[in-house]
Amino acid sequence: MQKIAAPIQGLIEEFAKLPGIGPKTAQRLTFFLLRSPEDQVTRLADALRRLKTDIVTCSTCFNIAASDPCAICGDPERDQSLICVVEEPLDVLAIEKTGIFRGTFHVLHGALSPVEGIGPKDLRIEELIQRARTTDLREIILATNPNYEGDYTATHIAQALQPSAIKITRLARGLPLGGDLEYADEGTLARALEGRRTFE
């Protein structure tokens, strides 16, 4: 059986580890890059490296950002007394796209899931509670995904925040159940934000 040069083989294997990329696509991408001009490949390599070297986690909201505090937490125009709690950084993007939210975020980096062994300590929940204690907050919007894990996470946080004078709300239904915030269209998401209701 013929073997491929190690650098090629290595890159194919790395590509194949990425979500949504199977062995065939990995091969295609590798051979595309092999045939591409050197400066284009260098730009890609640089972009990949900067992803880790030039990115920090915001110590307030735990979003990934280019600076700490991030652009949102550091923006005096944003309402710091309003926090929207989301599972993933991509959810921040989705909500920002609606253009109607003027508060700040808190990124949990996941949802509670006993089956996957994810408990409260594995998420940025304690940090949120600290933030709620030390900041003058008006409202916390729990914008976790509309599935069991997201709902469980929201319930857990709402309870952990008690007793407290802060208003706690949950995104309105209308988001498809079993769905992902990240994939909801802007209109639906905007309506869910506007129609949020108090958590019982």
């Binding site: 990329i21 062995p23 065939k24 091969q27 006993p114 089956v115 062994g117 069991y148 309870q159």
Partner: protein
């Protein structure tokens, strides 16, 4: 309802099959391993969106299929109008396949070997869960004859498959219930191992009760509705009488309201808390239910003769057919895979007589000559041979 057109591409041992069909009975005759059960499986897939025999859906794709996918298409005539169904199941490429670049036998397999299932109903894409029961199919295969003597799991499966075809809501509740059970069992073990707080269970108790109550209510009402037909047919088969008894692990009194039942179930869960944590399993709920069969005071599952048990199983299947028809207003397609040869002549005669009024029946046999002679008179015979089907 009936199948008017069935088309298989690279399904099991069928490279390409096109069948034009009419209402009535079809005998699918053929030696062993020719593709009789495979076609039954494909027909059933139209109703349940899942194979009843494959461990992985990859098995459904014909070995060496050039494009790595299988397709089942059907046109179904129903009371409510024609229904066009298409199910395409595809696999990610296997490792070591040659794709013109090089042999890549060195690669580690991708983490998820996810199969893709695409479903179209009247040309519009739909989610699998929303398509269960659009076509209804009652399947009867030899293992169903062991329903009475077999495991509780088999009897729960009977109730679930029947109800999923009748009610979209049941199907959804069941799918949610399964997710809850998985998370809740994992949480019980985490609590046992001091990784989580017992208080976390409250959320899952609530969710469990929410989905469990309609499942229990629906199962109970299904069995009640099956009872008269099952009893009547059991008598036609020479039995004395037949009573079905739904045995839920958590019973709900008939006059209890849904919220009250939910509350009672949550209280029960709270009472079982310690035991559940120690054992790390969900101790009550529909996943622990059973169904029992009685002739008079005699529990047939325990004391019945093999003949009595088979009579009861057969009667239940006929009752299932009737229940689906009553609920959906349309007769399901009936598929009898290899069962006739398992029955004695009396039961064969009673069964073939009974199914005459069903709008479409598929009946497989390796030995069609042994079927009741009058059945041949009105059934169309097709020959199944190595993945082809020809009229005789």
């Amino acid at each position: 309802m009936y199948l008017e057109h069935l088309e298989l591409v690279d399904y099991r041992n069928y490279a390409e099959l096109r069948l034009e069909l009419e209402p009535g009975a079809y005998i699918l005759a053929g030696d062993n391993a020719q593709g009789k059960s495979n076609i039954c499986e494909a027909i059933r897939l139209l109703a349940t969106m899942r194979s009843f025999r494959a461990g992985s859906e990859r098995e459904l794709i014909r070995w060496g299929a050039p494009n790595g996918f299988t397709r089942v298409r059907a046109l179904v005539r129903q009371a409510a109008g024609p229904l066009k169904m298409e199910i395409v199941i595809s696999a990610p490429p296997m490792l070591g396949e040659y794709d013109g670049v090089g042999y890549l036998d060195q690669l580690t397999p991708p983490a998820a070997s996810g199969m893709h299932k695409k479903i179209r109903v009247n040309d519009a894409p739909r989610r699998a869960l929303d398509c269960v029961g659009l076509v209804t199919v009652v399947l009867f295969e030899p293992t169903d004859l062991d329903l009475v003597s077999g495991t509780p799991q088999g009897r729960r499966h009977f109730m679930d498959v029947t109800l999923c075809q009748i009610s979209r809501g049941y199907c959804r509740a069941l799918s949610q219930y399964q997710k809850i059970l998985t998370q809740r069992a994992a949480l019980l073990r985490r609590i046992r191992d001091n990784l989580d707080e017992p208080g976390s269970l409250h959320y899952w108790d609530e969710q469990l009760a929410q989905q469990a109550v309609p499942i229990i209510v629906e199962r109970s009402s299904l069995i009640t509705r099956c009872l008269p037909t099952a009893d009547e047919f059991a008598r036609q088969l020479g039995g004395k009488s037949l009573t079905l008894e739904y045995q839920p692990s958590f019973a709900i009194p008939v006059d209890q309201s849904v919220p009250a039942a939910r509350f009672a179930l949550m209280e029960r869960l709270a009472a079982l808390r310690k035991r559940e944590i120690i054992q790390g399993v969900n101790l009550i709920g529909p996943h622990r239910d059973d169904l029992a069969f009685f002739e008079g005071p005699v529990n047939l599952g325990i004391f019945g003769s093999r003949g009595q048990q088979r009579t009861a199983a057969l009667a239940l299947k006929i009752a299932e057919l009737a229940a689906i028809e009553t609920e959906t207003g349309d007769q399901p397609i009936l598929v009898l895979d290899d069962v006739l040869s398992e029955l004695d002549p009396t039961r064969q005669a009673a069964l073939t007589h009974r199914i005459r009024t069903v709008s479409q029946v598929f009946l497989t046999s390796a030995d069609p000559e042994t079927m009741p002679p009058d059945f041949h008179m009105w059934a169309t015979r097709l020959q199944v041979r190595r993945g082809t089907i020809q009229p005789i």
